[in-house]
Amino acid sequence: MHEPGAEPIVYSAHGGCSMNTATTTVSNSGLSLSLSQRLIAGSLALMLGLTLLVGTGFAGDFRLHNGAHDTRHAMGFPCH
C-alpha cells in the first residue's frame, strides 16, 4: 500500500510468467478485479472482438470481403 506506483509492475512481472500464491495477494492492493467483473468485462470484449475479426477476416458477404480484401491477405486470413 505504501508504494502505489511500484506494485502493479511487480505484480505484472510475476503474473505473466510464474503465478498463483504471491500474485493474488499483491493484486488485492488495488489492481485486482472481482471474478464477476472480470467475467463481464471479458465477455463483452470477447464478443465485440470476435465480431470485428469475423467481420474483417471471415465474412462471406462480398462487400465485407472486397472492402477488407487486402487486409485479409496481409493478415493471413484465408480469403478466396
Binding site: A13, M19, A45, L52, G57, A74, P78
Partner: protein
C-alpha cells in the same frame, strides 16, 4: 474497469494497427496488386481467384449477391487504401479485445513487463501457427475449400492460444505435454490442401509475400501487446494514486 479494458485495447489497436497498415501499404499491397495482374492469365486460374465460384456451389443464401455481374469493390487508389487501412485497424481492435478478454478470463493482467510476451503469444497463435499450414496466400494462388480453411485456421489459432495460456498459468510437467499436443495436433490433422495445379503467380512474389506478411504481423503483435500493457500500467497507476492522494 470495463472502460479501462476497452480504452487500453483500443489505444493499442490504434497504434499497432496504424503501423501495420503503413507496412501493408508499402510492402504488402504492392505485391497483392502485382499478383492480381496475373489473375486470369493462366486459363484455369481465374476460377481459384473468384470467391464467388466457391460460394455458388455451397452457400445458396449468398448466391444472389455473387450473381451480380458487377460486384462492389473499393476503387484502386485512395479508396482501396482507405478501406484496407480501416479494415486493418478494425481487425487490430478485434485482436486487442480478444487478448484483453483472455487476460480477464485467465486473470493475467497485460502489463508493460509482460506485454511483449502477450504479443509473442498472439503472433504464434494468430499468425505463425496458421501460416504453418496455410501459407499467406496471394490472389490467384490455388487454395483448398474456403470454409474448410477458415475452420482449420480458427481451430489452429484456438489450440495454439490454449497452449500459450496453459503455460502462462502453470509450468507443471503435464502442462508442457498438453501444450505440445495442443500445438501439434492441428498440424498432424493437417490443413486443407491446395489443389495441385499451376499458379500464374510467380514464385518470387509468393515467397516475398509470405516473408513480408509474417514480418509485418510480428511487428503488429509485439507492438499491440507492449502498448496494451503500457496503457494498462498507466491506468493502474492512476487508479492507485487517486485513493492515496485522497487520504494523505
Amino acid at each position: 474497469m470495463i472502460r479501462n479494458l476497452f480504452f487500453a485495447a483500443l489505444v493499442a489497436a490504434f497504434c499497432a494497427g496504424l503501423v501495420a497498415a503503413t507496412i501493408q501499404q508499402f510492402r504488402v499491397v504492392p505485391l497483392i496488386l502485382h499478383a492480381e495482374t496475373f489473375e486470369g492469365e493462366a486459363g484455369h486460374s481465374h476460377d481459384d481467384a473468384a470467391p464467388a465460384d466457391h460460394a455458388h456451389a455451397e452457400a445458396t443464401p449468398a448466391a444472389h449477391d455473387h450473381g451480380d455481374a458487377a460486384q462492389w469493390a473499393p476503387a484502386d487508389g485512395f479508396e482501396r487504401t482507405a478501406y484496407t487501412t480501416l479494415a486493418t485497424m478494425l481487425a487490430a481492435a478485434g485482436f486487442a479485445l480478444v487478448i484483453g478478454a483472455v487476460s480477464m478470463f485467465a486473470n493475467i493482467p497485460i502489463t508493460f513487463a509482460n506485454g511483449f510476451v502477450w504479443g509473442l503469444a498472439g503472433y504464434l497463435a494468430f499468425s505463425l501457427a496458421p501460416a504453418f499450414g496455410l501459407p499467406p496466400e496471394l490472389p490467384g494462388m490455388p487454395a483448398g475449400d474456403l470454409a474448410a480453411r477458415q475452420l482449420w485456421w480458427g481451430a489452429t489459432a484456438l489450440s495454439t492460444a490454449g497452449a500459450c495460456l496453459l503455460l502462462a498459468k502453470t509450468r507443471a510437467g503435464w502442462a508442457f505435454a498438453v501444450a505440445a499436443a495442443l500445438v501439434l495436433v492441428p498440424h498432424i490433422v493437417g490443413a486443407p490442401a491446395a489443389p495441385d495445379e499451376a499458379s500464374a503467380v510467380p514464385a518470387h512474389l509468393a515467397t516475398e509475400f509470405a516473408a513480408v506478411t509474417l514480418g509485418a504481423s510480428m511487428v503488429f503483435w509485439l507492438l499491440l501487446g507492449t502498448i496494451f500493457g503500457k496503457v494498462n500500467d498507466v491506468l493502474a497507476h492512476r487508479s492507485l494514486a487517486q485513493p492515496a492522494g485522497a487520504t494523505a
